[in-house]
Symmetry: C2
Subunit: 443 residues, 2 copies
Amino acid sequence: MPDTMTDSILIHNCTLLTAPNAPLLANATLLTRGETIVAIGTTDTMQQADTTQATTIIDGQGKLLMPGLINAHNHCAMTLFRGMADDMELATWLSKYIFPAEARHVNKEMVYHCSKLAAAEMILSGTTTVADGYFFEGQAAQAFIDTGLRAIAAHGIIDFPAPGVPDPARNLETAIEFLDEWQGKQPRITPAIFAHSPYTCSAETLQRAKRVATERQVPFFIHVAESSQEQAMIQAARGTSPIRHLNALDLLDPGTICIHCVCLDEEDLALLAKTQAGVVVCPQSHLKLASGTAPVSAMIEHGIQVGLGTDGCASNNSLDMFREMDLLSKTQKLHTLNATSIPARQALTCATINNAKLLGLGNIGQLRPGYKADLILLDMQQPHLTPCYNQDLLVYGAGGADVHTVIIDGRMVMADKKLLTFDVQTTMQEVRRLASQLAGARH
Amino acid sequence: MPDTMTDSILIHNCTLLTAPNAPLLANATLLTRGETIVAIGTTDTMQQADTTQATTIIDGQGKLLMPGLINAHNHCAMTLFRGMADDMELATWLSKYIFPAEARHVNKEMVYHCSKLAAAEMILSGTTTVADGYFFEGQAAQAFIDTGLRAIAAHGIIDFPAPGVPDPARNLETAIEFLDEWQGKQPRITPAIFAHSPYTCSAETLQRAKRVATERQVPFFIHVAESSQEQAMIQAARGTSPIRHLNALDLLDPGTICIHCVCLDEEDLALLAKTQAGVVVCPQSHLKLASGTAPVSAMIEHGIQVGLGTDGCASNNSLDMFREMDLLSKTQKLHTLNATSIPARQALTCATINNAKLLGLGNIGQLRPGYKADLILLDMQQPHLTPCYNQDLLVYGAGGADVHTVIIDGRMVMADKKLLTFDVQTTMQEVRRLASQLAGARH
């Protein structure tokens, strides 16, 4: 962690994007102190008094400085299942591959190493904050601490035996123990609650879980309206839509984040707008699992706060938020058959400002004095980023592999494409070992 | 160019994928001589006699060796227009931005430098062959020669004033002059004809152009059935579908490559199958321009030869064929609402074997003794490619930035992510200079 009083990073001579709709600023300078951005200006006008304090100086020549991306939905530990079972129907994929693999191969060790691997992939591709939801979530939180990532770590709740929670009757209790341990423990980690879905949690479980989240003032996540199968199940069981079911249980408010929301009707949209619940879409997962396309343009027209996430990488299979922004824009154009839908800067807004807001992290997502120093530098001197007319190139041209330097909470976690916080080779070896066990068990 | 008698590259200790559906071969060795693959085996079994001839030895530890990707549709020079005008309706985009920019800014110098930039981007991202279609195509062909890429270079034909062809009455003549100059000139360059579309070329122009292509035994490309607007125009003008219009003109045969084919009905599909015309789809361009989704699953069920391309990067905006394969699979799953549609290996087949076949290049697209040595090595020791259960990871996880080494026609054109054939910094500078002129002219 940087020393709040003395550590200071100066980045100069760069092209600067402070927010998705801001003009690109040439020959710019940014200064951090401790975990905070303290000054932004052009290299010429920035006062020497400000910049001579810097303990680290980065030459940003040929690079673009922008806010770190936020991944608002992930199941980090599922990196172990990346590519284990592709091109499957959702039901087959879950019941024949994912659930059995989770039952046999998810343990504390696995969650720690596989979450660390996800953190490595995310940092390397320019993500500085993740909202994770899984089991053994304390191990995930520890992995985020050890890698330098900022995170919302949400403990899973489901009415079935789950990793670390063999008795579903103890699901809420386990999550409360997690909150007890992690609230206020580490400034970069926000613990939270993640209820799996309206078809895997009873009404009572959902209400009790939401009540805890409200009392503790932590975010409440839930997968909802992901597929037409879910829609049919909730219709059969509850006689209504998944969103209206949640609303009837009083679950929708600004502290609730509804993940997926592919299958919505006008009444659902109006409810989400009225209750100010947040929505996070995962376009690549929706494509790969053939779920459909979330009506993001309509959500935005309704004034709903829409964020963006990758989902777990078993259903994607990448954690690169640049790919996700590109696909958010492009899939909406297909969905509306209108090429002006979700322009590039709107996608960038979803992945930064909107995600920060709906996760309750008001001081990230933009570069402003007083905001957290969560920033990334991209190497723009590459053929595929040439020419650069404006920042739309970040969405339609750039990829995670273009990220050169990453600073989180004022700390350099990656420089020259190398992770500085931990030994990623060891992490990859550990995950390969776990993957061999998994592949061996299946043969 | 490698010396056919003596130059020989040995790649050993790698993981080898010879073709999309082949098993991954561990601890493999491949040997080239001149422009050809001469032997493939495991490092243990490969006879020393074969391998001691090698003049260059590459240690493939931690790397995956696979066929170079083929981009079956591009307008390379349009790199100048990358990001110049995003998020626009097709008609506005073409009439207000692309056509005026082409009228003012396309010249020999622009086509040479901008095609060279495209070649750099393609080689760096693992493409070893491109099918290009544009004007001043001799300059494009020269750019491909100078960068080491293999190419089909197709001269554009359109019944409007075009770059280098101010008088449409000379459009076919200009293309014939191009064929005269380039047929048999350079073994890596196959000249061809590219008729713009059924709505920008008269029936007579199309028939004359196809006749020349048939006589000269060169590929004949045409944009067709790209959008519902085109469909409506051809219906109004010809009383039929774009594909049936081409068929009525006797244009469909195995030498014709129909680009896009988004809007097809059953009769169109049957005609394409019966005539054995090739189809190339460009999923990202179809998304970004809100054209729709080409019915690739249906095409394959009909036995149509389906290939894959990026389209020009003004409508994508990337030339990375790994992204394109990923999107081919994923958009088909959305289109059919079936997660088993176009599995990863099918997408890989489209980008290699199918593209080679429909472009008439029978000896590329797979790694086999006797085939051309067009190969790429990917660095697999990275978090986002961990774990690796099988080659599906190449489609859903890998990206162009993972390519480490590229060999085309037996020649090392890129090693350790650096281009060896030309100075890409100079090319980027030239394109930036042209882009400043363009941006200046618009303000």
